[in-house]
């Protein structure tokens, strides 16, 4: 595990898995996938595997969501790890990220 992986499901739904080490050094790659995903109507982000996360990573997600919502998309969470939810809570970003309460099994 490590890199963000993009999986194509036809042309309508795209799933993006966030890396285990989701921190400042890994963000360029994630950003590229997210920018690309802005053109796709339905995106599912999977944060279940994230073990380490920092402010820069969450800031990236916030920026992505803002633009996506502005474009009329509805990015959905496929999962979010405890580490991500805790970090988002500390930074007051739970609402902005619309994180799911618990990780779906």
């Amino acid at each position: 595990m490590g890199k963000a992986t993009t999986q194509r499901k036809g042309d309508t739904v795209r799933a993006i898995s966030l890396p285990a080490d989701f921190r400042i050094a890994a963000l360029d790659e994630v950003k590229a996938s997210l920018v690309e995903a802005l053109d796709v109507p339905a995106v599912q982000i999977d944060g279940a595997a994230v073990e380490r996360v920092d402010t820069a990573a969450l800031q990236l997600l916030v920026a992505y969501r803002r633009e996506a919502v502005a474009r009329g998309q509805a990015p959905a969470w496929q999962g979010a790890s405890a580490a991500m939810r805790e970090a988002a809570a500390v930074l007051g970003l739970v609402q902005a990220l619309e994180l799911p309460a618990t990780t779906p099994a």
Binding site: L27, D54, A56, Q59, L60, A63, V90, L91, G92
Partner: protein
């Protein structure tokens, strides 16, 4: 940085800053006496170091306070402003205020108080900027509150330097309950424009829970330069009333505060001050290492005697080795004691300021001379000699030295001379406080003593005996009671304080010529000279300084009096008897007066007869604290270990007298 490590650095910083403040003070005083411009630079440098250190070690209040003084000094330094008496006065008060702040920092109390606040405004006003807007300033300077609003806006580059707001806010959460509201206004409009390594978020954090400003700003210590930060108290805790010691009537530093002022906080502060560190020169340490090396060599040499027969030739070598061991041990002991020895200059240095303040207040001209500042004495003694000296110096200026016109009338120069001198004399240190003032007024003292009922008349009394009267509790001859002295608290306190240190105070005075107060103190409190007394199976050490003499009495010399006490006649006075075996509950002691020995001792200004079986001999006793190893015992000041390995208690004469008085009362 861990809390413990930071605390350690803070301690070093505080000590260095206090030294810096001493430098500032002495330079300011020199400047006041017409010193050169180089002094301004010295003062500026000291202030600058304190400011920088305070900011680094988490004392932002102190840093901003010093900043005001520094700005003022900078103007003086660059010649924009001429230095005058008013500025020196202001800066001297700044030094006092900073000292008080450091004392509060050591005690873990809020740094700012109303005095600091007022002084900061004065400094700002002197700079011509007027006081900063009151309300905001007051809110900003609150140190303790139940709720805080923290606005935290990192600069874009903060993340790249490895500082993550996530960690900072998490740490802040340790101080109380947080409500974190993010701010997105700086976030780029498009994702593509976002540089992931830059920080574009900001936060407003509501912190609920009692916290100190320093704790909060401490969290952001390392990112100070990388963010905009404001910390505002929302709900202020009512602070305790400012300490009364801050009143301008107390010219001496905290340590010289009146003895009566005994709050719990003060005790705590004293405790922390007394447990502080001591600086030792590398030379002394090297000397110690050298001596320990010698000891190891001697020990290994003696070790060879474990094996083989010891014949005459080897015996001579053995004796030589033992002699060496004894010498090295003694030298080692002296060197170790030497570590605790510090020059008395640190005590003397507080006086130029005090003398200046007091003489100005009283309209007297005083020249202070310091002699023997480098004389070294034990740190513990050093810390405790300050208070008695303050009393003596105040007395000398207030009662001793005359006003200029009186001096002229007496045919003396306008300016009086006050001399503080320290020197070693045998195993003691002698500190003299002398003035060329009016001297003790024999008639006034006798008049007062008669009025107080201390004596019936002064006839036939020697000058020494008359002078000794001023050490009686509640004795003061000052016609007018000033706030400096004359409240009747003074000389008796001096004598008691010095006696607590195992020393004595004497006066030599010539009417019209001046007085000399001489304090004689032991070099160290760690070793005392004492006589070993036998009481039954037990051995007690009676400190030599408190022994007047010892006499063998006839059985009928001691009389019982009503109330259960015993008295005996000693040189025209009747002294109470304390039977040591009764006081300490010893078995098998001699009971008949003619079989034992009466040791006349003096403690707390009173003489008593101490009845013991006999005196064994004189010895130096290394004092082991009973308090540290067991607990405090009334009537005993410590313990020592005798040559045969048994433990002997050291008698505390003053404590014993008090103990006996209480028992009698009960």
């Amino acid at each position: 940085m861990s809390k413990a490590a930071l605390a350690q650095f803070q301690q070093v910083f505080i000590e260095e800053s206090l030294e810096g403040l001493d430098t500032m003070e002495s330079s300011l005083l020199e400047l006041d006496n017409g010193g050169d411009a180089e002094l301004v630079h010295t003062i500026f440098r000291a202030a600058h170091s304190i400011k920088g250190g305070a900011a680094t070690f988490g004392f932002p209040e102190m840093s901003s306070f010093t900043h005001e003084a520094e700005s003022l000094l900078d103007e003086v330094r660059s010649g924009k402003r001429a230095i005058d008496g008013a500025i020196i006065e202001l800066l001297l008060r700044t030094v006092d205020c900073l000292r008080a702040m450091f004392a509060r920092a050591q005690a873990g109390e809020p740094l700012n108080d109303t005095v600091a606040e007022a002084l900061r405004n004065e400094l700002a006003a002197a700079m011509g900027r007027g006081a900063p807007a009151g309300a905001v300033q007051a809110r900003r300077n609150v140190d303790q509150a139940d709720a805080w609003t923290i606005r935290f806006r990192p600069y874009a580059g903060m993340l790249a330097s490895g500082n993550d707001p996530l960690r900072l806010i998490r740490e802040l959460g340790g101080l109380g309950e947080l409500t974190v509201t993010p701010e997105f206004d700086r976030l780029p409009a498009t994702l593509a424009a976002l540089e992931p390594g830059e920080c574009h978020l900001g936060w407003t954090i509501e912190l609920k829970g009692p916290a100190r400003r320093a704790d909060i700003s401490g969290v952001f210590d390392w990112v100070e330069d990388e963010c905009d930060l404001s910390i505002d108290a929302r709900h202020v805790v009512t602070e305790a009333a400012p300490p009364p010691a801050a009143a301008p009537a107390a010219p001496a530093p905290a340590a010289a505060a009146p003895v009566a002022d005994a709050g719990a906080a003060r005790a705590q502060r004293e405790a922390s001050a007394e447990s502080s560190s001591v600086r030792v020169s590398i030379d002394k340490i090297d000397g110690l290492i050298n001596l320990v090396g010698e000891l190891v060599i001697t020990q290994s040499m003696l070790d060879t005697f474990r094996e083989g027969e010891i014949d005459a030739a080897r015996l001579a070598v053995l004796e030589q080795g033992l002699a060496q061991l004894a010498r090295h041990t003694r030298e080692l002991q002296e060197s170790v004691m030497g570590i605790r020895m510090l020059p008395i200059a640190s005590v003397f240095n507080r006086f130029p300021r005090m003398v200046r303040d007091i003489s100005q207040k009283l309209g007297k001209q005083v020249k202070l001379e310091l002699v023997g500042e480098q004389t070294e004495l034990d740190k513990t003694v050093l810390e405790k000699i300050g208070d008695p000296m303050v009393h003596l110096v105040r007395n000398a200026i207030d009662h001793g030295l005359e006003t200029p016109d009186k001096r002229r009338a007496a045919g003396k120069g306008d300016t009086g001379t006050l001399t503080l001198a320290a020197s070693h004399r045998g195993g003691s240190i002698v500190v003299e406080v002398s003035d060329d003032g009016a001297g003790l007024n024999r008639d006034a003292i006798i008049g007062k003593a008669v009025q107080r009922g201390l004596i019936s008349s002064g006839e036939g009394m020697s000058d020494e005996a008359v002078a000794d009267l001023i050490f009686q509790p509640g004795f003061s001859t000052a016609a007018v009671t000033t706030d400096l002295s004359g409240r009747g608290v003074g000389m008796d306190v001096v004598r008691r304080n010095v006696a607590d240190l195992g020393g004595t105070v004497t006066i030599r005075s010539t009417q019209g010529k001046g007085s000399v107060f001489t304090i004689t103190l032991p070099l160290t409190l760690a070793i005392i000279d004492g006589l070993t007394a036998a009481v039954g199976e037990e051995r007690y050490i009676v400190p030599l300084v408190s022994i007047v003499e010892s006499v063998q009495l006839k059985g009928d010399a001691v009389r019982s009096v009503a109330g259960g006490g015993e008295l005996f006649r000693f040189r025209n006075e009747y002294l109470p008897v304390i039977r040591l075996h009764d006081a300490f509950g010893c078995q098998d002691a001699v009971r008949g007066i003619d079989e034992g020995l009466m040791v006349v001792v003096e403690g707390d200004g009173t003489r008593v007869g101490l009845f013991v079986d006999g005196l064994i001999g004189q010895q130096q006793a290394v004092v082991k604290s009973l308090e540290a190893n067991y607990r405090r015992v009334q009537g005993v000041s410590g313990a020592t270990i005798l040559a045969d390995g048994s433990v002997a208690l050291i008698v505390d004469i003053a404590g014993l007298v008090r103990l006996q008085a209480r028992r009698k009362a009960a």
